[in-house]
Amino acid sequence: MRWRQLMAIVWLVLVLAAATHIALRFAGTSPLETDLLAMLPPTEKSATAEAAVKALSDQLGNRALFLVGHADADQARRAARSFAARLEASNAFKRVIAKAPQVDARSLTDFYLPYRSGLLAPDSYGALSRPDFPAENTLLRRLHQPFQTGIATDPTLDPFGFLQHWLSQLPFAQTRLMPSDGMLTVRDAQATWVLVLAEPLGSTFAGDTQARVIAAVASAESALREEAVPASLLRTGAVFYGDAARASAEREVDLIGGGSLIGILVLMWLLFRSVRPLALSLVTVACGIVFATAAVLVTHDRIHLITLVFGASLIGEAVDYAIQFFAARLDAGIRWQADKGIARLLPGLSTALATSLIGYGALTLTPFPAISQIALFAFTGLATAWLSVILLLPLLARAPGPYEGKDVRLPQRLLRTWNDRVTPRGVIALVLMLLAVSIPGWLHLTTDDDVRQLVARPATLVEQEARIRLLVGATGSSRFFLIEGANDEEALRREEALTERLRAHLGQGLAGYTSMSRFVPSAATQASQRTLLQQVLPPDRVAPLLTEAGLHDKAVTAWRDMLSSNATLTLQGWLGTPLAQPFKHQVLTTTNGTVLIVTLSNDDASLDLTALAAGLPGVSAIDKAASVSALLAEYRRLATFWLPFAGLIVFAVLAWRYGFRQGAAILLPTLVAMGMALGLYGFAGLSLTLFSLLALVLILGVGVNYAIFIVEAGERAPAPFAGVLLSAATTLLSFGLLALSSMPALHQFGLLLLIGISTAVLLAPAALTLGGARR
């Protein structure tokens, strides 16, 4: 007896320690993970590729982008200026940019001028390569053109306009935004939109940063609305998605956790009519949740929102062990002896726990960080709730309960009716009928591996982002190319091989691309372009043309000097200029050499990146979304194979405790439930995903619990049967609430568990009919 009390005290101390750990972690910076990308597993072959994905997403994710729109262009600019000023004053942002970035034409021209003999735009190179390059015509066209697009160069230094042409095709602005009155604007049918960029102060994914940013934007937006003709605002940025995800997760935790708790209290009151069972059951659940949360926080830096929401739904299942304990106490009445009671319950509770853990164990086999967190949470939560029942309840509920179980008449009648009316043959017939009805549904099953199952994004934000993309014309595509080389020169050469292929697709599935070699050709390319110029336009040929056109003699000298210059532009030289600032994230230096990123704009599905990269050394196509989808598909197939295996393991556990015949009888209701759930999915036209298959494994592990509890209690025990119904009701309530989650993966868990477990519960008495009670 001493030994038991000691254990209980040790246990309670551990609970307190875990609770303290949680409190300390939440008191500091919030350990909640709101970065949606962190939900996704590493998918790329190399660490370099993952680093590139991260670099690109940081580049885009660290800023919030706004468009301020008004029918009147001046009003729009004024509104944008005051909006930016308000954001600036809020102290929520590191930087707020409303002014159009000035690509300073002079410094750009001056930078490239010394290297111009090696710099030819692709179409200039093409024209010079043809056998009869029309030198005079090119010169006259350049001099007599009625207007000038882009940057004008001095005809003395650039008589044919090759440098001018080179400068005008640099991929500085791959957007439809145009500078107007010092701001970047774009017009659509209704309004002029003005761009405002803002960099949040602090981490985009930290809760306090998000709160500050949201408040600042809300107050600046309401100021926009107060104008006589209000300006409209579109926004996008990871900070908004992160905040929305956190807010909706918190709502769902409140809904699922609160709903489950209230439901459990009401249902338990109906059966037990006493405060003690309620309070003590909640203590065991609280222990489970505290240990589960602590386990995740100890092993992980941050807790995923999806884990938190799922964790709330675990309450309904974790309370089952305590319910079984108190149902046994109710059944025993004044004959209750806590030690004997728990000894009698232990095998059944242990078997139920074991099958549940098998179900959740399947989740750990997937590579998705958030899903394996859920598994860890459930594992720890259920195991510690079970341990709490065994260690604490016999001590805290030693005395018999005050109530004699009058209110179990309804469950009693239900059980008696089932036992009297239903024969083993009837059960077999029912099972066959249910399966026959489900089969046509199975034939309609489809599958879906879209990455969006993992990441829920609120519709209003998605809609604004879509409008911004349409207006701005940039896509921030998640697909890109990675070029690896032993040094800058090799990387640039390899990149040029790729961009030559890309150019053929411009206008067909691709609007543009940004590559470093467009700013800095490889030394080899610069040399060959210089040679071409020397061959096609030697000073002897050019001099009379320039004189004839009326240029001063110094133009001839300049041409001669240019052709004899060997100045070669280097990647490092370019990166050292302020002009390169917006593109720095596209160059990574690793221990193995240089890595370049080629980004695409407005690429559509018809562009096959893998085919474009095929056969090019050092070039790989990266498509994070497609990689994740492929991974989802792979694991969905794996889960399909795993499912029968999991069934065998559960059956082995059951057979070990109950023997073959009774074990099979216990498993049967759950198998039928799974078959029916699949059939319903087929009929409803819902697609099977990795998460629905994982949910099937969970049904397997959790669904058999109720048949186990019934078989353990035996047919003459109304109170335990009422306890089984109560357990099932609390679990169904929690999973039912989980089905309301906005996170697609959790929604599917909840929905399928709701269908499957309710069927398993309804059919659970069949286990008694077919296998008999355990004696």
């Binding site: 009625p146 000038q148 005809p155």
Partner: protein, 205 residues
């Protein structure tokens, strides 16, 4: 007393031949375009540039069509035609080979194109987006001085002066680097419709 009345009369806009407002000019040009959506003219372009020993002369013809754009046909010293549409530019050489470039190929083309069209059409409303406009003269013999608002246009040019009556007759662009371009239009002819050959150039059937 008489002097005072005279002074008052002089100050009153009704009595004095005051400069037209940009809105009046805009209305006038719109009305003219309504009556005759097509305008043909001969042009002479003279570029005075530091790089050249003497000014660079260009001669040719132009067709301005409301809603379509501009055909800019250079006759001397080389034969070259530009067809400037809403969002694309076609360059047709003497050999008849056409080079089509869209606003997407050339960033800034849409802007430069609309500026060019706005200048040729004296469309003050469109010009006001980029310039501060100072009108002078009368509605029948007006002068406009355009000073670029801060931005990329101001980097490239210092000032534009244009004058005309029923149409634009003269445009002078002072570039930031001291070079200047003067465009003079003569022999202006209004029309209601495009000729078949012109329609083809604009890609109309």
């Amino acid at each position: 007393m008489r002097r005072l009345i005279l002074a008052l009369l002089l100050l009153t806009p009704f009595a004095s031949p005051a400069a037209p407002t940009t809105a009046e000019l805009a209305a006038r040009m719109a009305q003219r375009l309504e009556q005759a959506p097509v305008l043909r003219a001969d042009f002479a372009q003279e570029k005075a540039m530091a790089a050249f020993k003497k000014p660079l002369q260009t001669h040719g013809r132009l067709v301005f069509a409301r809603g379509q754009g501009v055909i800019w046909q250079i006759d001397a010293p080389l034969k070259l035609t530009y067809v400037l549409g809403e969002d694309r530019i076609v360059e047709i050489g003497e050999d008849g080979i056409a080079q089509v470039r869209t606003a997407h190929d050339i960033p800034g083309l849409a802007q430069v194109g609309s500026l060019f069209r706005a200048l040729l059409g004296a469309q003050t409303e469109a010009l006001a987006e980029l310039f501060t406009i100072m009108p002078d003269g009368t509605i029948d013999a007006w002068h406009l001085t355009l000073v670029p608002k801060p931005g990329p246009v101001a980097q490239a040019m210092r000032e534009i002066r244009m004058s005309g009556s029923r149409h634009v007759e003269r445009i002078r662009i002072e570039e930031a680097n001291g070079d200047s371009t003067t465009l003079v239009f003569r022999n202006l002819r209004e029309d209601r419709v495009l000729l078949p050959a012109e329609r083809e150039r604009f890609g109309l059937r």
